[in-house]
Symmetry: C2
Subunit: 385 residues, 2 copies
């Protein structure tokens, strides 16, 4: 791969296009991110069971940190005193942090939304806290994340049109306050806006119009993968993506399966994160070039072949399915690392493959190949296209 000179943080250059799918370079203070990209999730300051040596070996370019979790434990000020999150968790490449909003809104009974911000209780000790659009930026600057996200309200699936409409206006006002508190160019930490609007096309358009009026470094689609059907998700991804400006990076938050990711790329999205590869790894569900398998199945007890002969990760280079099944069924800790390492490699290879396909002008065939590995998901959107 070329090593282009690093430009001013926030610079986004589109380097190839194939249909709506595109390749880009997003410049950050800690290096260049090549899009489309998948970002492993390091919730509490570590990608679960995986150290930076493994992340570097599998070519991760950027990881996520969760503001809510790090704010509560060990505390963003403690991390700031350590020199920021990069120094704290020994990760020298880019980091994106969410705003904490999604976690807080998931607390349900434990939170209350006001115009000023959101009151919530810690899931750890019940202590009371208050997040505002401004305070979550202070937290994220303490973490010194390369890409900060604004506080938004993530509306539950099934919310009424009226509620969703009022909510997106609040999200817009919060977005305006965020940019005002941290004007463009203040420092090297990029700031992304988030489009809401639930599952109402006109409300999505309204939110996109308001949010993209603000000078953010990138734009995200929020409030997806919250309980809707695969067809609805796919529908809204294809509908909403063109509402985001083409010259800025576009980020689909918290989504999704390999199927979702190739469809997101096809729609013109650039950035993806999801806990699926690591969470599924811990449940024994592993992604391969032939689709998903569950390693605990009896049929693998004497299977000497690697998990995926097309994968070059340490797990696949070194161990058989029989051994991985044994580790899983015996509850051995090593199972978590080996399975997570493989699943993350699969997701990183997925976007690497997408970038190559886009550059070669054969992305559509690439997407079809991936979709064919996930017939259940394909069936759920059948007749949709």
């Amino acid at each position: 791969m070329d090593s282009p000179a690093q430009l001013k943080p926030g610079t986004f250059k589109i380097t190839a296009q194939d249909g709506n799918a595109r390749c880009g370079e997003l410049h950050t203070a800690h290096g260049i991110v090549h899009t489309p990209i998948f970002m492993p999730v390091g919730t509490v300051g570590s990608v679960k069971a995986i150290a930076p040596d493994d992340l570097e070996a599998i070519g991760a370019e950027i990881i996520l940190g969760n503001t809510y979790h790090l704010y509560l434990r060990p505390g963003d000020e403690l991390i700031a005193r350590r020199g920021g999150l990069h120094a704290f968790n020994a990760w020298s490449r880019p980091i994106l942090t969410d705003s904490g909003g999604f976690q807080v809104f998931s607390l349900n009974d434990l939170r209350k939304i006001t115009e000023a911000g959101v009151h919530f209780r810690s899931h750890i000790d019940g202590s009371k806290h208050f997040f505002t659009p401004e305070s979550v930026l202070t937290v994220q600057r303490n973490l010194n994340s390369d890409i900060m996200m604004v506080l938004d309200e993530c509306v539950a699936y099934g919310a009424s049109r009226d509620y969703t409409s009022k909510s997106l206006q609040l999200t817009t006002r919060w977005a305006q306050r965020s940019r005002a508190a941290y004007p463009a160019g203040t420092a090297h930490n990029l700031l992304f806006g988030i489009v809401q609007g639930g599952f109402y096309q006109d409300l999505r358009a309204e939110s996109a119009s308001q949010i993209t009026d603000i000078d953010f470094d990138g734009f995200a689609l929020g409030g997806l993968s919250v309980g809707e059907s695969k067809a609805e998700l796919t529908d809204f991804v294809y509908y909403s993506t063109p509402l985001l400006p083409a010259h800025r990076p576009r980020y689909l938050m918290g989504v999704g399966t390999p199927f979702d990711i190739v469809n997101g790329i096809a729609a013109g999205l650039d950035m993806f994160d999801c806990v699926l590869p690591t969470r599924n790894a811990r449940n024994g569900t592993l992604y391969t070039s032939q689709g998903k398998i569950n390693i605990k199945r009896k049929e693998f007890a004497e299977d000497d072949s690697p998990l995926d002969p097309n994968c070059s990760c340490y797990t696949c280079r070194t161990f058989s399915k029989a051994y991985l099944r044994h580790l899983y069924t015996a509850g051995e800790l090593l199972s978590f690392r080996l399975n997570s390492l493989h699943n993350l490699t699969y997701f990183l290879d997925l976007v690497r493959g997408a970038r190559e396909a886009i550059r070669a002008g054969r992305f559509n065939a690439y997407r079809s190949g991936i979709e064919a590995c996930y017939p259940d998901e394909l069936a759920q959107v059948k007749g949709w296209e």
Copy 2:
């Protein structure tokens, strides 16, 4: 380090001596083990939370497998069909397997000893099984371990003189049956005998006399670290070791702390294994050149220094105590790998340091330096020497 030509499995060459402490080379079918050596324990076919890449990086030369656990799950015959334990768990260096006796005798109510062998129930599903001196060798040959151990009875601490005396005779008869079932030179799998005799000096001497009459490739002290005081353990180590022939490797089973290991080496022992470094790692107890610390202590919350500035492991090269404390208190899976990697490095460095000290004729000073890091243990044997 020199790479001497590999000789016939079982060859043991003493390469340096300092008092009773000695350096040696034990030749096995999977390479040479440099003694004194610490052997990480891979109970169920993996050293907990640690993969072979890490073990190789920290210079582990030989690991343990537990016959009882592997026999029950995934089964020794299944492992034999995979090409043995080395192929199954991707470890190409030597492996020692215990006989399963210690685990079975720990089952208490779930086992019954007869002249023929020991009946027991699985701790996993309650199913009935029967181990004989001969059958545990079949299991260990299925695993294709480099060093097999005979079935013995490990007597509980506090057992009467009468019980201990009868038990050691049974252990001798089982040892004779073991060697008869697998005569010396049958194959490349070495076979070690085990001396019992509880905490009675004359019975230890009687057992040693009987067991060392049999042509084993090495000899172990069993039945120690079963609840006795530190002074008793140390006493019996120094008393019993000279009862084992000097020209064969001498193995102290399941012991112990760094203090115990340097004293074992001083007594003339060559091989050690213990779950302490990995188990303590999972409890947050970490070994350093300044003694033991518990990483969960509040005082480390903002400590940017490495766990041990004198340690070259990945954990110490990469992370601060503050980060390791955070991982531990947040219950992050990565904590297990990083802590285990460090503690194993400490134990391997401990025996590497001992080998260097013996070669340089300064082992006594080395031992005193280690003992000084563990004042609590030293106090327990004070006045004993």
